[in-house]
């Protein structure tokens, strides 16, 4: 018997609804999201069994990267109508005899973590290119001759006394730098810290 082979019809899938929905989703996300401001440094935190969540709002974050550079980030607190970041910057400027334009204050309000000597802050705020901005992030000075970190923390605490403090330290950072940060915080009457860690569950068993 001769084998009869019929030509196989290629299946015809109408993709129009799928493309429509993807176009809708794309438009939605384009209009509703804004980029997260870049963090000053990439930090690999150590592990711990702690399951408590890091506070998201109303928190002062001190970042310590593995090269022992210290950066600072603080938000506008619980009540977002109070513009804490620009107020703190104004007070710092008063203390250190500088002036900031309203535009610079607004930019500072919208950005996140920073860490540089105060005289370089103006230049950093005025740099448009993000790659050039990264060069500025050299760490906040906190040695005894120039303890700018202390000033920042004092003014932030004055503006927002209820903020919690989180220390996000890299696992390979020297403990003495983190200890110095903790000492400066204790000078400003902060005795309770949150250390940001990754969750890693550990089991302990008693051996008889």
């Amino acid at each position: 018997m001769p084998k009869i082979k019929l030509p196989v019809k290629t299946p015809h899938i109408d993709m129009t609804p799928m493309v429509d929905l993807f176009a809708l989703l794309l438009t939605f996300f384009m209009l509703t999201t804004s980029f997260r401001p870049q963090e000053a440094a990439i930090i690999d935190t150590p592990n711990s069994i702690s399951e408590k969540m890091t506070p998201e709002k109303n928190v002062i974050t001190l970042l310590v990267d593995k090269d022992n550079k210290v950066f600072l980030n603080f938000d506008n607190g619980m009540d977002t109508s109070v513009i804490i970041r620009s107020e703190v910057l104004k007070k710092m400027a008063e203390q250190l005899s500088t002036q900031f334009t309203p535009k610079e204050l607004k930019t500072f309000s919208n950005w996140a973590s920073f860490g540089m000597p105060f005289e370089k802050l103006k230049a950093w705020l005025n740099t448009a290119d993000s790659k050039e901005r990264e060069v500025f992030q050299e760490g906040l000075p906190m040695d005894t001759t120039n303890n700018e970190l202390n000033l920042w923390i004092r003014f932030i605490r004055l503006q927002n006394p209820n903020a919690e403090v989180a220390i996000k330290g890299d696992a390979l950072a020297d403990f003495k730098i983190v200890k110095r940060v903790m000492d400066i915080l204790q000078e400003n009457k902060v005795n309770k810290f949150n250390l940001t860690t990754n969750l890693q569950k550990e089991e302990a068993k008693l051996e008889e």
């Binding site: 009869i4 019929l6 019809k9 299946p11 015809h12 899938i13 109408d14 993709m15 609804p17 799928m18 929905l21 993807f22 989703l25 935190t45 150590p46 592990n47 711990s48 069994i49 702690s50 399951e51 408590k52 969540m53 890091t54 506070p55 998201e56 310590v64 989180a166 996000k168 330290g169 890299d170 696992a171 390979l172 950072a173 020297d174 403990f175 003495k176 730098i177 983190v178 903790m182 000492d183 204790q186 000078e187 005795n191 309770k192 810290f193 949150n194 250390l195 940001t196 860690t197 990754n198 969750l199 550990e202 302990a204 008693l206 051996e207």
Partner: protein, 212 residues
């Protein structure tokens, strides 16, 4: 909805008829599901947020207050000394430079190292807490999370002979070492511990150069 029309084959006489099929797959449900999945993941990435370990430091010593440091009994004290390269040592009691020094024992961060030492010292509290936790997971006792945490805190304070751990780190210790040790305190349910400054005697014990 896939429509696969197949004309049935076998007729009498055993002759096979040719199969005809046309596939027309309607993709709308698939796209609906993808939309749902995207929304689901957008909302649930909250689970992988970074966690925080809470620590409370004692008030810093005011140099104007001439108070004696509170005396702690030497037999309950376990001192942990940490240095660079993940080196960790421990000794019991007090390191008084005028008296013979206690034995310094080297250990490591693994579960057979410092954790074993801590568990051995803290048997009573640890087994009580482990028992309580087991009872709650098995459902023998009904406790809300906060109530459970409070009970565990009470248990930790109940043993009067529980060890007091003093954590000391030299210049070369890394932040990870301190976080690991404080984590071990939580894992082995040690109630009283403190991060204190390392003394010159102890620096000599571990062979670290004394800072100027």
């Amino acid at each position: 909805m896939a429509e696969i029309i197949q004309a049935e084959g076998k007729q009498k006489g055993g002759k096979k008829k040719a199969k005809k099929f046309s596939t027309h797959i309607d993709m709308t449900p698939m796209v609906d599901l993808m939309c749902l999945l995207i929304t689901f993941f957008m909302l649930t990435t909250a689970f992988s947020k970074p966690k925080a370990m809470e620590i409370t430091m004692p008030e810093p010593d005011n140099p104007n207050d001439k108070k004696d440091a509170p005396l702690i009994s030497a037999y309950k004290t376990l001192n942990i000394l940490m240095s660079g390269n993940d080196q960790i040592y421990y000794y019991y009691g007090v390191a008084d430079p005028n008296k013979p020094l206690p034995e310094l024992i080297k250990t490591d961060y693994s579960k057979d190292g410092i954790r074993k030492v801590l568990l051995n010292r803290n048997k009573i509290v640890f087994s009580a807490v482990a028992e309580l936790r087991e009872k709650v997971t098995k459902g023998e006792i009904q406790l809300a999370d906060t109530a459970l945490n409070n009970r565990i805190k009470e248990l930790k304070k109940s043993d009067k002979d529980a060890p007091i751990v003093l954590i000391k780190a030299d210049e070369k210790a890394k932040y990870k070492n301190i976080v690991d040790i404080i984590d071990e305190m939580a894992i082995t349910t040690i109630a009283s511990y403190a991060v204190v400054d390392i003394s010159p005697t102890e620096l000599k014990m571990i062979g670290s150069p004394t800072p100027n």
